[in-house]
Symmetry: C2
Subunit: 113 residues, 2 copies
């Protein structure tokens, strides 16, 4: 079953709302890593990291590649584009409005010392 755009955004933003998960994404920037490697720097259990990876995977922020007994986890930067697009679209939209508002306030408030 294909996720709706809405669900997709739900999952992406939810995945990004946890500092451990953002940290994992940062760690994966350098290169792909195994689950064990990813977990090492953190003080929580491997099972906890495994859960975090599942959340990141549901959001499609990461991909996995099985390699024998272990597996490599790597980023899927395409997905971040989805979030960024949402944000920048609305930001632009809002900034236009905001600018109109600022102009209004300038007229009302004046710049007279």
């Amino acid at each position: 079953m294909v996720k709706s755009k809405t669900q997709e955004l739900d999952h992406i933003f939810h995945a990004l709302s946890d500092p451990t998960r953002r940290s994992i994404l940062r760690d994966l920037g350098k290169r792909e890593k195994t689950v064990g490697e990813i977990a090492r720097p953190y003080r929580m259990s491997l099972a906890a990291i495994s859960k975090h990876l599942k959340v990141l995977e549901l959001a499609r922020l990461i991909d996995r590649r099985k390699a024998g007994s272990h597996q490599f986890v790597r980023l899927n930067p395409e997905t971040l584009k989805t979030a960024e697009e949402w944000i920048s679209y609305y930001e632009q939209f809002w900034n236009e409005r905001l600018e109109a508002l600022r102009n209004l306030l300038e007229i009302e408030g004046g710049t007279d010392g």
Copy 2:
């Protein structure tokens, strides 16, 4: 107490992870609105909307302006910049790596039919 950058991102992304809250942000793009106005199109209670607004406020995605018995809620687009900056920073970083990876794969896989 001032929020850390990390907590700030936690709150912003968490706020954005709910479809009702994203919808509210969209609605506020047109103009500032009262709580009642915001709530009207939704089928949930006013109290539920009030809670959502609190989440958006904690993330500083909205501001409030008291005006007698009611109050006006408006966007704070500056905050979205924080999220966008995080995303675009890492996206750019990752895309560089990804491009390097793609080049590698091309070399390995070749383009020979």
